[in-house]
């Protein structure tokens, strides 16, 4: 980690803990909540991997943190600053007005203006097809964070070098493979220096031989001290990268572990054993 382009932890604001407190997410027409009173803390620099069967609410959890899903209970804060809450937007602004003296407090409260707190990479290749690789990466820092084009471009190129795509900076998304697109999507999120990076099954839609190039980038990012929440079905990857593992089922935390090795070799709960067993396949040959 010699290159400072990915060293996103050097800023003083980025040593705050992400608090998830009693999150409840329920859709209007559903009989039970997707997330039911989920709480945990993510200290800065930690990599949390969230596992669970499909429908357990793990993607929804990331989406609530990203602000894509309103929550019906609980709140999400970074340090003292409220990022999301079940209350009205005004309440967030009021709460943060007490913490931040500057006038941009109300803007930051929405969690979607400068500075950007949360970056997210999705499962689908969601680059903007009407922009080149550089155009995709440079759009938000210039438009949202009002940074200088030259500086943004220089950092964009550094980031692309880091993920091995420097030669594709002028390519269009449709000219890239799925793995390349995901690496660009990671750069696009990183350039805003988010405190938290969210990865929502980023390799699930990829051809198997492209999974590795994306996971390598994420592992490197973990080594650089980036705080991350990762939802994945790649168990070997989870084992390799996680500082902390959370097993979700039916919208609740079933098991948590600070020791990835131990979680995978000696899971405490029966449910965790069951879940892990679904990833191994063995058969007695006649």
């Amino acid at each position: 980690m010699t290159d400072d382009a990915l060293a996103t932890t050097n800023s003083s604001t980025q040593h705050e803990t992400l608090h998830i407190r009693h999150i409840v997410k329920q859709y209007d027409n559903a009989d039970k909540p997707v997330l039911n009173d989920v709480s945990f803390d993510v200290p800065a620099g930690q990599v949390f991997v969230i596992l669970g069967p499909s429908g357990s609410g793990k993607s929804t959890l990331l989406r609530t943190i990203a602000g894509l899903e309103p929550i019906q209970g609980g709140d999400i804060t970074i340090g003292d600053e409220v990022l999301r809450t079940s209350g009205k937007k005004k309440d967030i602004e009021k709460a943060n007005a007490a913490n931040t003296s500057n006038t941009s407090g109300s803007k930051a409260a929405k969690g979607d203006t400068n500075p950007v707190k949360v970056g997210m990479v999705f499962q689908s290749y969601d680059l903007f097809p009407n922009k080149t690789v550089l155009g995709n990466i440079m759009l938000a820092p210039v438009l949202v964070q009002k940074r200088k084009k030259d500086e943004v471009k220089a950092e964009a190129i550094k980031l692309l070098e880091r993920v091995g795509l420097a030669d594709r900076q002028d390519a269009w998304p449709h000219e890239l493979s799925g793995g390349q697109r995901q690496r660009v999507a990671i750069c696009r999120a990183l350039i805003e220096h988010p405190q938290i990076m969210l990865f929502d099954e980023v390799t699930a839609a990829l051809d198997p031989e492209m999974v590795r190039e994306v996971l390598d980038v994420i592992v490197e990012l973990a080594d650089s001290g980036q705080t991350m929440l990762i939802v994945t079905h790649e168990m070997a990857f989870a084992r390799a990268v996680a500082d902390h593992i959370i097993l979700l089922e039916d919208g609740g935390i079933v098991e948590e572990s600070d020791d990835a090795e131990q979680f995978f070799t000696h899971p405490q709960s029966e449910r965790a054993q069951q879940f892990l067993n679904t990833f191994t396949y063995s058969r007695e040959r006649q």
Partner: protein, 224 residues
Amino acid sequence: MHGAEILLQPGVFPRLLQGLWVTIWIAGVSVLLSLPVGLVVGWLMTLRNPIVRFIMRVYLDFIRIMPQLALLFIAFYGFARAFNWNLDATGACVLVFVLWGGAELGDLVRGALESIPRTQYESAQVLGLNSWQTFSRVILPQALRRLLPASVNLITRIVKTTSLAALLGVIEVIKVGQQIIDANRFQYPDATLWIYGVIFFMYFFVCWPLSIVARRLEKRWAHD
């Protein structure tokens, strides 16, 4: 072959070109005014508000079901007279074509906007773009690409439909042709084929480049 000579008569060709200019003018102004109308209508159609949706639905269906000629007659003989609007035939044509073009284009815009995947909105939102930035920098550019081929086809339809203006007494290219034929009925009794033949090619050379452009764009943007 005698009828062909009418084309060489002094004044015949320039008059046809004048008529063609009127055709192009009506079509051009209508298209230019239809663009903003269509964009707004298309955007309104994507809104969740049931009242707005209903109004837009009625507007679109009404315009589509009514023959354009009936719309022209309503606008020119009906409304303009009934409410004493100072609306000449050309104005009535532009009004109807803008209402029609705006509705049709609006439906194309709606389709294009709705075809943009949700994740495009979500990625933009997570990156911190506000709704206007998302719309103008991410969604609209993509929608326009999907929209362009179909809207070029719509423009050629508008050009062709301007021929109905003749029935309101607008001296556009078809009307000019009729006048020339009538005036030379005895001198060149078989001029009809030749005059309409020339008009045919005039329409063709106006619309043909448009369809070439549409095809090119379709090919170039196919991968998006």
